[in-house]
Symmetry: none
Subunit: 279 residues, 2 copies
């Protein structure tokens, strides 16, 4: 068939957004971002939200094929009404004619997360959070080639709610020397998924020998570092892509960040406020 099935205005926009001038594209993006609410408001409000002028909004709806703004709004309303009638089938992004959500990548990722958390007890999470929250020693974080950003992400947050959080960055020679600062009161958070990096394994081993408590984020096949780790978080990484996915580990990291923050709330809240003041 020559034409595509366009059943919603959102699809219509997605179809034509490529061939729109900058201003109208901003209008389109603004509408999609909070679809479809902004489209139900007046042209003035719409234009203000998108940061463009009123005529641009009107040209935008005209390009979509509507004679005037009210007609555009009517269609949006009809669409909404249809959705409300059948709460079951939310068809903004249609279930992809053929079954399954349009993005198998998304589905796989969601599954990974559910699986990851299924094998992860609340108890375990709480224990790790408690360990990270008790301020006896320092917290070091490090990751592998692709997972180091996760270590950074976690460090960026933890460093705000407590002192002595350090992300080990840069060359191997750089952080290897930091071992000398690490002792049995300290915690080392390591991210390592396959291909497990030798340098990280060696580093973990050394740290372990010094009595450092290791929290390991790895994949379901477990990095060799698991041998030395006090806590192991095994996330699912398989997705229909050339790469492995770190998304499940990312979510676990965020969950931990949240839990630690909550535990430190009494002291941490003041600390956060203090920091705000320093800007």
């Amino acid at each position: 068939m020559g034409e595509k099935m366009i059943s919603s205005i959102a699809e219509l926009i997605a179809d034509r957004i490529g061939s729109m001038p900058a201003g109208e594209r901003r209008a389109a993006q603004t509408l999609i971002a909070s679809y479809p609410m902004i489209g139900l408001k007046t042209v003035a409000e719409f234009s203000a939200a998108a940061g463009v002028s009123s005529p641009t909004i009107l040209r935008f709806v005209a390009r979509l094929g509507f004679q005037n703004y009210p007609e555009f709004q009517s269609n949006l309303q009809d669409e909404l009404a249809a959705q409300l009638q059948s709460p079951a089938i939310r068809t903004l992004n249609p279930p992809s004619p053929g079954g399954g959500t349009a993005s198998p990548m998304l589905e796989a990722t969601l599954d990974n997360m559910r699986e990851t958390f299924r094998h992860l007890s609340d108890r375990q999470l709480a224990d790790i959070a408690a360990r990270l929250a008790e301020r006896r020693g320092k917290t070091f974080l490090i990751g592998g080639r692709f997972t180091d950003p996760l270590a950074r992400y976690m460090a960026a947050h933890l460093a705000i709610v407590q002192p002595d959080v350090v992300h080990l960055a840069g060359q191997e020679s750089m952080w290897r020397d930091r071992l000398i600062d690490m002792g049995k009161r300290d915690v080392l958070v390591i991210f390592d998924i396959r291909r497990y990096q030798d340098s990280l394994v060696r580093f973990a081993e050394k740290a372990h020998q010094r009595g450092v408590q290791i929290v390991l984020f790895t994949d379901q096949w477990l990095s060799p570092i698991a041998r030395f780790a006090r806590h192991v978080i095994a996330g699912r990484t398989a997705v229909p892509s050339a790469w492995d996915s770190s998304a499940a580990l990312f979510v676990v990291a965020e969950t931990l960040i949240g839990a630690v923050t909550r535990q430190l709330d009494a002291n941490g809240a003041r600390r956060i406020r203090e920091m705000e003041g320093l800007r």
Copy 2:
């Protein structure tokens, strides 16, 4: 407490419909019958549907406690928005077959991802992937305080499948000077969620002026950088935590990485194998 809990206009109507005159009651019943759609239309249409006159409709909304008709409509819209935003009551997400996960954090994150992708068309993703894959110029990536790790993560992967991928790290003064290398053949991927960082906005503006194509990862309230962006990805960030979640954006990033890799497969595969050999 003396007052009842009134959380929706529908309840408000049910509460007062007993003390309404005949005409206004017809208005109320008409609204309830197709709640809330007819209330979003004009007074004239509403009155026609209810078989009463316009002033009766206005007296009806006045009795509900609204100053004027637009105010009444705004409240209806807010109510709708709240309903649409929270797929919370989405009974279709099985409570994890085999034991309900008690983690509200996980549930919220999963919802965020579904919502994010609902507002993200395959087309848009494909467009962005194509832009990133076509090797006309360089690809720059940068992020804000908490999102910079996402930029790193993406850069780490893209740099493997294609040349000229650079992550802008370090001090503002460092990457500000890199502007001089950037031109209209280049792409700049920016991560910026609220509190949006002034430095990033300024940087984006300058880059935009130089004709750089900007791909923006932001939250649903859209960073001001959206003004300059060619492509905007609006991810949901709300979770029951002291922090916002970047997990949805992370998944989008991974999806894009996968898409770009697939597109470059012909050439990219050889490049990857070559790299393997270099170890």
